[in-house]
């Protein structure tokens, strides 16, 4: 039995640069690595969430104009960031999969999609809850809100398409095209508030300028953002492991794993 990761690295010597980057491109070697990584992200996610929520609700002061309703940003902003970052990660893995023909890349992309869709939904939902008391409307068709809604449909469309095609190789490819085409939407979401007049306010935090928030509010929000990252990584690793087992169920390495498991429980 030859590992496909090893085969790939031999085919692509110029990419490895001394380190065998392709070792973990095969599900067989990535499966145990992912298993070891899950607690390294899962536990920090839990701790950061507890600390972040404590700062958000008990330490951060009330906002001068919005009152208590502004506290939605501690969930809304990290959720919106994750919804965009995860889509870009999905498109990245789809491009890698199409270029290098690595099946694990497509599995990564499929593992990312449900988490991205959930964050998108959370961003839209918390935004609506905040919009009613602040703007006076649950929903408006401005550029930011509409493009984020399109992102949710892209996630759902990607998942539906992949699930609808029986042949996994064809499903991978069809899904990858949707994911790559949809990636155009991410910069549109991000820059919508600067390109057009929108009801949605501009960015309070950006790379190019000083944050327009009191520092304790910012600290709480960034801790919640880190928690969202850690949660997403751990939960995607759990899901990609499940996808690997499901798709490679007829392979020797899965049979070995199952045999080991049965042995250890005897």
């Amino acid at each position: 039995m030859t590992s496909s990761g090893k085969a790939l690295s031999e085919k692509l010597p110029e990419f490895s640069g001394g380190i065998n980057w392709f070792k973990y491109a095969s599900p067989q070697t990535f499966y145990p690595l992912a298993g070891r990584l899950i607690p390294l992200f899962g536990w920090p996610a839990l701790v950061l969430t507890v600390v972040g929520l404590y700062i958000s609700f008990f330490v951060a002061p009330t906002d001068a104009t919005q009152g208590e309703s502004y506290r939605i940003i501690f969930i809304h902003v990290p959720a919106a960031w994750m919804s965009m970052v995860i889509y870009l990660a999905m498109a990245f893995w789809c491009a890698v999969g199409l270029i290098f023909n690595t099946r694990l890349s497509f599995m990564m992309s499929q593992a990312l999609a449900p988490t991205g869709a959930i964050w998108t939904f959370v961003a839209l939902w918390t935004g609506a809850l905040w919009g009613k008391p602040t703007w006076g409307a649950w929903w408006v068709w401005d550029a930011r809100l509409t493009s984020e809604l399109i992102l949710l449909f892209l996630y759902l469309g990607y998942m539906a398409l992949v699930a609808a095609i029986d042949d996994p190789r064809r499903a991978d490819r069809a899904g990858a095209v949707v994911a790559l085409v949809g990636a155009i939407n991410v910069p549109i979401i991000y820059f919508s508030v600067t390109w057009w007049n929108t009801l949605h306010q501009g960015a309070s935090v950006s790379v190019t300028s000083a944050p327009k928030m009191a520092s304790i509010m910012l600290t709480g929000m960034l801790i919640m953002a880190l928690a969202a990252w850690a949660y997403s990584v751990s939960v995607v690793l759990v899901r990609v492991r499940a996808i690997m087992l499901e798709r490679e169920r007829n392979s020797d390495w899965v049979a070995d794993r199952v045999a080991q498991l049965v042995e250890s429980h005897r």
Binding site: P61, T62, D63, A64, T65, Q66, Y70, I73, A95, L98, I99, F100, N101, P133, T134, W135, G136, A137, V140, W141, D142, A143, L180, V181, A183, I184, I188, W195, W196, N197, T198, L199, Q201, G202, A203, S204, K212, M213, A214, M217
Partner: protein, 149 residues
């Protein structure tokens, strides 16, 4: 050229072509993607005529008046260059305040008064505790008195 290089170029070219076409489509629809028009755009006749649209800007300080019927409110929307008077019958959102952002939907009447059917408060991107807002206000007042002297 190896097949994977070809695929890399194909995907790179495809995404670039898509980005270009998206840019062209968005710039073609630029006008329709605008959520609201500023008072200056309305004065320059850039806003649609005889059709409902949204106006956005700041509620001019000291311009909010309640009419005798207790329901109608009139105020002035300004972008500091031009002003448009607005009249609205209904409940206002909590964050509607003089000097703050507002977006309102309605029709421009022949008398130049914008008759609104919906008023939304537009919040800015600044978040601060009340004490900080108070301090900022004091500082602005102090600056104004210095200028006046």
């Amino acid at each position: 050229m190896k097949p994977r290089h070809k695929r890399m170029l194909l995907i790179g070219g495809g995404v670039a072509a898509l980005a270009l076409s998206a840019t062209l489509v968005l710039s073609a629809f630029q006008k329709n993607l605008v959520f609201f028009f500023s008072p200056s755009q309305i004065v320059n006749n850039e806003a649609p005529q005889n059709r409902t649209f949204r106006i956005g800007g700041l509620v001019e300080a000291g311009s909010v008046r309640r009419e005798a019927d207790g329901l109608t409110t009139s105020f002035v929307v300004t972008d500091t260059a031009n002003r448009i008077p607005v009249s609205y019958k209904g409940a206002l959102p909590d964050l509607f305040k003089e000097g703050k952002g507002v977006v309102s939907q309605g029709k421009l009447g022949a008398d130049g008064v914008f008759v609104a059917s919906e008023v939304l408060a537009k919040h800015d991107e600044n978040y601060m505790p009340p004490e900080a807002a108070h301090a900022l206000e004091q500082a602005q007042k102090a600056q104004k008195t210095v200028v006046q002297k």
